[in-house]
Amino acid sequence: MITLEHVSKKYAMGAVTVTALNDVSLCIKEGEFVVVLGPSGSGKTTLLNMVSALDIPTSGKITVAGKDITAMSRMKQFDFRRNTVSFIFQSFNLFPSLTAEENVQFVLDMYAHRSNQPRAQAVLESVGLGLRYKHFPHELSGGEQQRVAIARALATGNPVLLADEPTGELDFKTGVQILHLLMAQAGNGRTVLVVTHNREISRIADRVIELSSGEIVRDGAPEAGKAPIADLHW
C-alpha cells in the first residue's frame, strides 16, 4: 500500500543542513496497523508529511495505493490527498471559525457523492464528543480539539489514515478509546500509520517502525508480540 524507496528529506538552513529523514526505505501492506516510534526530532512528522504528499522529499520515491506521489502533478496531489489519505495533525489544524460539527461536515461535504456517509454528529459521538458539536475550537480543550481532528479524519473514509500523536493530548481512558477506533479502522481494511513517542502504544501494533535521527533503527512486530488493547496502561 505504501512504499518508500531511499527517501531523504533535508532542510538547508544557511550553512547548516538538517537531515530530517535519511535514506528511508520501507513497505507497508494494506490493512496494516503500524506504529512509528521515535524520540522528538527523529523525523516522524516529516515521514507522515511525505506519505500524505503534504511535502516532497529531497530525494527518493514514494508510492501510495499504487500511485507514485513524488512524480505527481500538483493537481493530482490535490486529488490524492482528497481521495487516498486522511491526516490527523499533531497540532490539530481545525478551522477556527467552524464548529466541531462543521469541521467534520466540511470533509463530509467534500465527498457528498459517496454513498453510506456517516452523519457528522455520529462521527463526533464515536470519538466521545456527542455533546460538544456546537462548540468552536477555541471553546474546546486541547484533547477535545484533537478528537474533533480525529473525527474529521475518520469521516473521510479514505483508505490510508495517518495520525500524528493522536493520543498526545488525551488522558489514558480517552486515549485508549481513540486507539480502539483507529484499530477498528485497520480492521475495516484501512491502512493506519500512527506516530507516537509513547512506547506503550507500540505494543498493540501489527508492526513497529522505530526512527532515530531520521533513520530506521528497527522494523518489525512488537517485541513481545501484538498485545490486546486491554493490556495497555500509562
Binding site: L54, D55, I56, N93, P96, S97, M110, H138, S141, Q145
Partner: protein
C-alpha cells in the same frame, strides 16, 4: 457542497473582521462614489445645457445694431415680422450704465448694462429670464422701476433683492430679483464691458419701456432676437434680413450672430467637453487609489487565513473550492461597498450639479448619468475585492501545503530578511529589537502595509497638491498686481490720445475739494498682438508699454531686467516655455502697426527677450514706452495708471473717473487680481469640496493597513502577555513597528503623489488651461496632514487595540492552533 454552509462560514469571517470589512467597503464606496459623481460630466452637462437652452428659448439669431444706432421698435418689428422661417421676433433696448450698490461702507460701483425686455404677453419669449432668487418681472412691470440683476454679479458682490441699487444719473431702482438670460451666462471679451468679468460688470434686466424712459429713448430699440421654425436655414434668414434692412433702414449698421456662433453658448459647450478630462483624472485617481487599497486590504484578510488555506490543501480540497470562502468574503465587501458607493455617488453628483448651478444658473442642471458611471465604477468595485481575495489563495497553492500550514500566515520561511538585522545595530533589549525584526521577518506583509499607507498618502498629496497648486497660482497672480501700489486704478481710454493732449492733462489735473485727486498719473499703451512660434502658430500677447524710468508700479521679474533704452520685451514664463525661448533669445511678435488715424496692419517683428516676469498669465508682456515707435505709436497713450493723492480713496477716484468722457474702463487692481480665481474657480471649488473626502479616505486606508497588521500579531501578542510582558511594552513595540512602517509608507506616498501631480499639472492641466502657468506647489499644510496621517495616526493605531488587549482571553487565543 451546500451553499448555506459556505455563506454562514463566510459571514463569520466578515463578522470576525467586521471593522476591516466595513472600512474596506467604505473605501470602496468613496472610490466608486466619487468616480460616479465625477464621471460622464460631459454627457450630463451637455444634456443639461441642451435642456436649459431649450427651456429658456435661446435665440436662433441675434441682431445688434451698431453702437449708438437705435431704431423705432414697432417699425423694426413690422419690417422683420414676415421673414420666411422666423417664428418669433422680439426687440430689446440695451443701454450702458453704471451700478452703484454700495452698502455698509463698501463701495460697489461698477459699469453695467440695462437690458430692456419686452414683457408684454408674459414675455420675454425668447432668451427668457431665468430667476434664481426673488421676484420675476411680469406684464405689470412694464412701466415699473423693478429690476432683476445678474446672478453672478450679485452673488460675488453679496447683493440680494431689497438692497439699494442706483444707476448712472443717481436713479434708484427697485431691486426685486436675481437671474440671467442665456446669452449672459458668463461675461466674455466682447459680451460685457471692455476688460470686465462677471464680478465687475452688472447686467440689469428691466422692462423695455422702463429702459426707454430711463435712457430718454422712448420707443427705440437696438437689439433683436429671433426664434426660427424647425429646419430653417439660418443663412437664408440672414440673407432675407439683410435685404429687409437695406430696404427699410439703409443707414443703420448691424451685426448678426447665429446661435452656434454665440460666444457664451459655445463656451458652455466647449467647457463641458474640455473639463471632462480633468474630472476624469480626478475621478480615475480616486477609483485607482481606492481599488489599490481595497486590493491590498481585502487580500490581507485572506492572507491572514493562509494557514487555513494550507489545511484545506492538506485535506485535498479542490482549488476552486479553496477559493470559494475568500471569494464570498470579497463579495460581501464588494456588495457593501458598491451599495454605499451608490449613495456616495448620488450625493457627489448632486453636489457637483449644485456647484454648476451656482456658477451658471440654468434652469436644468441635473446629473442622471451618474448611474451610468456608477455601473462602470461598480464593476471595478465588484471585481477588485474578489480578485484581491484570490491573490493570496493563488500564492498559497503555489507552495507545498506543509509550508502554508507551518510557516503561519505571511511569515516567510527562514525568517525573511531578518538576517539584515545583523547589519542594523539596534540598541536595547531583545524585545525592543522585535519591531525591526517583525518588519524584516515578513517582508511581504511589511511591504503590503507600507504600500497601503503610501496609497493613502499618494491620494492625499495628489489631491491636496493640485488644490495647493491652483491656490498658489491664484496668489501668485494676485500678488503680482497688488503687492505694491494696491490703491492704484487702471484706466483704459476709449482711443489713443497724444500724451500731452488736453484729455490726458485734464485727467491729470482732476481735483476734489480744491485738492489734486492723484499723486501721480502714469501713461502707457496697451496693445494686443500675437506671439508666433517656429511652426508659425500664434498665441495671444497683450503688451503693456510703460516707462520703466518713472512708473511707480512695475512688474516683478523672475529673471533678466526691464528694457532700458534698448529693444526688448519682458514675457511670461509660460510664454517663454511654450515658445522655447530664454532671456537673451528673440521672440517673434505680430504687432499692430498704425497706418492711418485708426487703421492698422499686423507685422511680425523679432524682439529680444530681456526679462521674464512673475505673472502666471501667458499673454501678459511688457515693453518700454519708448519702443512705441515699433508700432508707429510714439507719443500716444491709451492707458493711465492713477495713484491717489494723500487722503483720497480708490473709490473716490473711481467715482470721478466713471464720470469722465473718453474712459472705456476703470479697474481696481484687486479686480484684475481676482480674475485668476475666476479662471479656475470651478476646479478650485470642486477640489475644495473633495478635500474632506480625500482625508477621510486616506485615514481609512492608513488606519486599516496598520490595524490589520496588529490583528495579525494577536497570537504572538497573547504569547507575550502569557510571559508577563506588560501591555505598555507590547503596545510600545507595536507603535515603534508602525512608526517605521508609516514613515517608509509616507515617504513612498509623497513620492508617488508628487509624480501624480507632475503628470496632472504638466501633462494634463497645462493642456487644458494653456494660458496660465501652473507651478507645482505642495503646501506645508499638505505635508503636515500627510505626515500626521501617515506617521502619527498610523503610529498610534495600536493604542486603539489597548482595550482589545485588556479584554483578551489569553488562554483561548493561545489554545487554538489555527
Amino acid at each position: 457542497m451546500k451553499l448555506k454552509f459556505w455563506l454562514r462560514w463566510s459571514y463569520r469571517d466578515a463578522r470576525e473582521h467586521w471593522l476591516q470589512v466595513l472600512a474596506i467597503a467604505l473605501i470602496l464606496a468613496l472610490g466608486t462614489g466619487v468616480y460616479s459623481g465625477f464621471g460622464k460630466q460631459k454627457e450630463w452637462r451637455i444634456e443639461s445645457l441642451d435642456k436649459s437652452f431649450a427651456m429658456l428659448a435661446m435665440y436662433d439669431l441675434h441682431m445688434e445694431l451698431t453702437d449708438g444706432s437705435y431704431l423705432e421698435g414697432p417699425a423694426l418689428e413690422a419690417a422683420l415680422a414676415h421673414i420666411e422661417g422666423v417664428a418669433m421676433v422680439e426687440t430689446r433696448l440695451l443701454v450702458p450704465t453704471l451700478i452703484d450698490a454700495s452698502k455698509g461702507g463698501e463701495t460697489i460701483l461698477y459699469p453695467g448694462r440695462l437690458v430692456g425686455l419686452d414683457l408684454s404677453n408674459g414675455g420675454p419669449h425668447i432668451n427668457k429670464l431665468n430667476i434664481t432668487e426673488g421676484a420675476r418681472l411680469s406684464e405689470a412691470d412694464i412701466n415699473s422701476n423693478r429690476v432683476v440683476i445678474d446672478h453672478l454679479f450679485t452673488s460675488y458682490r453679496k447683493l440680494s433683492p431689497g438692497d439699494t441699487v442706483k444707476i448712472a444719473g443717481d436713479f434708484e431702482l427697485d431691486f426685486v430679483g436675481r437671474g440671467q438670460t442665456p446669452e449672459n451666462l458668463m461675461i466674455m471679451p466682447g459680451t460685457g464691458g471692455f476688460m470686465e468679468n462677471e464680478n465687475t460688470f452688472a447686467i440689469m434686466y428691466m422692462s423695455r419701456a422702463s429702459v426707454q424712459r430711463l435712457s430718454g429713448r422712448a420707443g427705440l430699440v437696438n437689439d433683436v432676437v429671433f426664434l426660427f421654425n424647425k429646419n430653417t436655414d439660418p443663412d437664408a434668414v440672414i440673407a432675407e434680413i439683410n435685404k429687409v434692412m437695406a430696404a427699410n433702414f439703409a443707414d443703420t449698421g448691424f451685426n448678426l450672430t447665429k446661435k452656434t456662433d454665440d460666444k457664451v453658448y459655445n463656451a458652455m459647450y466647449t467647457d463641458a467637453r474640455g473639463d471632462q478630462r480633468f474630472w476624469n483624472i480626478i475621478a480615475g485617481l480616486f477609483l485607482f487609489g481606492a481599488a489599490m487599497a481595497t486590493f491590498n486590504l481585502a487580500g490581507r484578510i485572506v492572507e491572514s487565513q493562509r494557514r487555513q488555506i494550507g489545511i484545506g490543501m492538506a485535506l485535498g480540497v479542490k482549488r476552486p473550492l479553496l477559493a470559494l470562502r475568500p471569494i464570498l468574503l470579497g463579495l460581501q465587501i464588494a456588495l457593501i461597498g458598491t451599495i454605499f458607493g451608490l449613495a456616495v455617488g448620488y450625493i457627489f453628483s448632486q453636489a457637483i450639479a449644485g456647484i454648476f448651478d451656482d456658477f451658471y444658473p440654468l434652469p436644468y442642471w441635473r446629473n442622471p448619468f451618474f448611474i451610468e458611471s456608477y455601473i462602470n465604477a461598480s464593476i471595478v468595485g465588484l471585481i477588485v475585492p474578489v480578485v484581491a481575495t484570490l491573490f493570496p489563495v493563488w500564492r498559497a497553492v503555489r507552495v507545498q501545503p506543509i509550508d502554508a500550514i507551518q510557516t503561519g500566515y505571511l511569515v516567510a520561511k527562514g525568517g525573511g530578511l531578518s538576517y539584515l538585522m545583523e547589519y542594523v545595530p539596534v540598541p536595547g533589549k531583545s524585545y525592543m529589537q522585535m519591531p525591526f525584526r517583525n518588519i524584516l521577518r515578513s517582508p511581504w506583509r511589511s511591504l503590503l502595509t507600507m504600500l497601503g499607507v503610501s496609497i493613502a498618502i499618494m491620494l492625499l498629496i495628489a489631491m491636496s497638491g493640485i488644490l495647493d497648486t491652483f491656490q498658489r497660482t491664484i496668489h501668485q497672480g494676485s500678488d503680482f498686481y497688488i503687492k505694491s501700489q494696491p490703491n492704484r486704478l487702471n484706466v483704459v481710454l476709449d482711443t489713443f490720445y497724444p500724451i500731452n493732449s488736453e484729455r490726458i492733462s485734464q485727467i491729470q489735473a482732476l481735483e476734489q475739494d480744491g485738492q489734486p485727486l492723484f499723486s501721480k498719473v502714469d501713461v502707457g499703451l496697451i496693445m494686443v498682438g500675437e506671439y508666433v512660434n517656429h511652426d508659425d502658430e500664434e498665441m495671444l500677447a497683450v503688451i503693456d508699454l510703460f516707462d520703466p524710468e518713472t512708473a511707480l508700479w512695475q512688474p516683478t521679474l523672475k529673471e533678466g531686467q526691464l528694457p532700458d533704452g534698448q529693444r526688448g520685451i519682458v514675457i511670461s514664463e509660460k510664454a517663454a516655455d511654450d515658445l522655447g525661448v530664454e532671456v537673451g533669445d528673440t521672440v517673434r511678435v505680430a504687432l499692430p502697426i498704425r497706418e492711418g488715424l485708426l487703421s492698422y496692419r499686423m507685422e511680425e517683428t523679432d524682439i529680444p527677450v530681456v526679462g521674464i516676469h512673475d505673472n502666471p498669465l501667458r499673454m501678459q508682456a511688457y515693453m518700454s514706452l519708448n519702443q512705441a515707435d515699433l508700432m508707429n505709436m510714439q507719443g500716444l497713450a491709451n492707458t493711465l495708471t492713477l495713484y491717489p493723492a494723500k487722503g483720497v480713496t480708490t473709490e473716490e477716484m473711481r467715482r470721478v473717473m466713471f464720470a469722465q468722457p473718453g474712459v472705456a474702463s476703470v479697474q481696481l487692481v484687486s479686480d484684475i487680481a481676482s480674475s485668476f480665481e475666476e479662471a479656475i474657480e470651478i476646479f478650485n471649488v470642486v477640489m475644495m469640496m473633495i478635500q474632506g473626502v480625500v482625508v477621510i479616505l486616506a485615514f481609512l486606508i492608513a488606519f486599516n493597513s496598520t490595524s490589520i497588521n496588529v490583528d495579525e500579531r494577536v497570537r504572538e501578542i497573547a504569547t507575550m502577555f502569557a510571559f508577563g510582558l506588560p501591555i505598555r511594552t507590547v503596545i510600545r513595540m507595536q507603535v515603534v513597528e508602525n512608526l517605521i512602517t508609516g514613515l517608509i509608507g509616507t515617504i513612498l506616498g509623497v513620492l508617488f503623489g508628487y509624480f501624480a501631480i507632475v503628470w496632472m499639472v504638466k501633462g494634463q492641466v497645462a493642456d487644458m488651461i494653456p494660458d496660465i502657468q501652473f507651478d507645482i506647489h505642495i503646501a506645508l499644510a499638505t505635508f503636515v496632514t500627510a505626515s500626521v496621517l501617515g506617521i502619527v495616526v498610523v503610529g498610534l493605531t495600536p493604542l486603539l487595540s489597548i482595550r482589545k488587549f485588556l479584554r483578551m482571553d489569553i488562554p483561548s487565543t493561545l489554545r487554538v492552533m489555527e
